[in-house]
């Protein structure tokens, strides 16, 4: 029996590693491609600044790639570290760790491409602002990585915690659910945060005097666009750390699995939507800084309404965990 568990854990670790880096490679590649396209268009507008644009393109791409590097780290750990196999729950946990990081890296990778691209374009439009633009791009794309960091945390907890004392049914469902909740919900927030950061880089290039208020509102918008990912993190934490009573029916395990799915998929749309809402706010604050109060309020109310669907998903997934 002992040998049997070991084999299954290895099997899950290999497939988890494949999924982690396979899915994780999607986002960063798209983001980097977008950045390179924008950099090309920037160079053709003002070839004299080709060196600066090239530099900022590479820096931006390096940041966009960090989400994929997280996936690579998780894949390496799954492949090479000796995971203690105490029960069949570890099989589910290890597989879920790969899923969580794989899905979680998609959004941040795509998102971090937007500010880098916008900064390249902005640099040729407003060469005097290139230092400020680079700073703004760095802050924007670093904050963009937060959802993938949440997914990474859930992966690490799933890999390194010992669940030997928990009952196999329904805990395996909770593990898979936790991975899916953290991973899928990070997609929307990553893309949304990137859209906001892109709009702010563009805005600063258009109106250099607005740099401080645009950066502030960008941080605010990104932070609120991350709410779905945070709700996903919350659901994942509950699924991992709550002790579930042992059952011999299949329903509770599936309920826990679907609560993770519900929060994860339900978080994708609101994340992107809030990002779009906030990008509008940031864009027009740069053009019309005098109306910052009204614009910010409208942006916040719009984002709150777009967020409500993520809250509905959270309510249903909490019902699935605690009631069903």
């Amino acid at each position: 029996m002992e040998q049997d568990i070991q084999t299954w854990v290895k099997l899950a670790a290999y497939s988890g590693a494949g999924l982690s880096i396979g899915l994780g490679a999607i986002g960063a590649a798209i983001g980097e491609g977008y950045t390179a396209a924008q950099a090309n268009s920037a160079v053709s507008r003002n070839p004299a600044l080709a060196g600066d644009v090239f530099k900022s393109m590479l820096v931006g791409q390096a940041i966009a790639e960090s989400a994929s590097i997280f996936s690579l780290v998780v894949a390496m750990i799954l492949l090479f570290s000796n995971i203690p196999a105490t029960s069949f729950i570890t099989v589910a946990a290890v597989f879920a760790a790969g899923l969580s990081m794989g899905f979680g890296a998609i959004g941040s990778g795509v998102g971090a491409g937007f500010p880098a691209g916008a900064a390249c374009i902005g640099m040729v439009r407003q060469p005097a602002m290139s230092a400020k633009l680079t700073t703004n791009m760095l802050i924007g794309s670093a904050v963009c990585q937060t959802p993938s960091i949440f997914a990474l945390v859930i992966s690490f907890i799933l890999i390194f915690s010992d669940f030997g004392s928990h009952p196999l049914w329904p805990t395996w469902g909770a593990m898979l659910g936790a991975g899916l909740a953290a991973g899928l919900s990070a997609i929307g927030s990553g893309i949304g945060g990137g859209v906001v950061a892109g709009a702010s880089s563009e805005g600063i290039a258009r109106q250099p005097t607005s740099v401080s208020s645009v950066t502030n509102i960008m941080l605010l918008g990104q932070a609120i666009a991350q709410t779905p990912a945070i709700l996903g993190l919350l659901v994942a934490f509950i699924l991992i750390f709550k002790e579930f009573g042992a059952t011999d029916t299949i329903a509770p395990a599936i309920a826990l699995l679907s609560s993770g799915l519900c929060m994860g998929i339900g978080g994708i749309g609101p994340g992107i939507g809030e990002g779009i809402a906030s990008s509008g706010g940031v864009k027009w604050i740069a053009r019309n800084e005098k109306e910052i109060g009204t614009l910010t309020r409208t942006m916040l109310v719009g984002m709150a309404v777009a967020e409500s669907t993520a809250i509905y998903s959270m309510v249903i997934s909490l019902v699935l965990i605690f009631v069903v």
């Binding site: 750990i77 945390v153 690490f156 915690s161 208020s213 941080l219």
Partner: protein
């Protein structure tokens, strides 16, 4: 890897209940408070037209955060709430930065710290809301746009506390877990200082700012 998720706790049984103290969080919260007091005393001790370096730093902190509050809340309310905003930001920044010193832990890594600050911001915001709009107008906002939306509006308000505190907690704890795991994998060679600089100094400062800004915004949304 045993340190992952371990919390030093002091459990005191009292009248049949267990009182649990998270020692790390308490000790380092007091450390941060003492450091802020020290900074306050040192920066204001020798005030003058030609400021010393600490006075410049203190003035910079206060004036920037005061301006920020004034932008969001208006001149009248800024007078009242800017000190709170200032203190909140300084406390959070130091809390997030203290972890880069070896053997010190960020108090914000313990969910209780961000959660209590989030609850504090929530109550202040709603107090401001009731005070400026009156109780009737405040309550009727929950029944918009329809009567049946009341429970969802309530959940939405509570979700604000969850999101603001988990954002800070997740970022700081995530950073420290990543540093721990990477240090373990690379035998603490080369990488940890850079990771500490990124997750400790950079992300810590940004998240402290975001938390402060969001508290101000929640207050201003309630006030208008």
């Amino acid at each position: 890897m045993e340190e992952l998720g371990k919390i030093h706790q002091l459990i005191i049984p009292l009248f049949g209940h267990n009182m649990v103290f998270n020692l790390d969080a308490i000790v380092f919260t007091w450390t941060v408070m003492l450091l802020i007091l020290l900074f306050g005393v040192l920066s204001a001790r020798k005030r003058g037209m030609i400021p010393g370096s600490l006075q410049v730093l203190g003035e910079l902190f206060v004036s920037k955060l005061y301006d920020l509050t004034e932008d969001a809340l208006g001149r009248e309310m800024a007078k009242k709430y800017a000190p709170l905003v200032c203190a909140l930001f300084m406390f959070l920044v130091l809390c997030n930065w203290i972890g880069i010193i070896p053997h010190m832990e960020e108090p914000t890594k313990d969910l209780n710290t961000p959660l209590s600050l989030g609850v504090m911001g929530f109550f202040i915001a709603h107090f401001v809301g009731i005070k400026t709009k009156g109780f009737k107008a405040y309550i009727s906002e929950y029944f918009e746009p329809f009567f049946i939306m009341m429970p969802l509006n309530l959940i939405g308000e509570v979700a604000k506390i969850v999101s603001i505190s988990f954002r800070l907690f997740g970022n700081i704890m995530g950073g420290s877990i990543i540093i721990l795991v990477v240090s373990y994998l690379t035998y603490s060679i080369l990488l940890p200082p850079f990771l500490n600089a990124f997750f400790g100094l950079f992300v810590g400062a940004i998240q402290a700012f975001v938390f402060t800004m969001l508290t101000v915004v929640y207050i201003s949304v309630q006030a208008k």
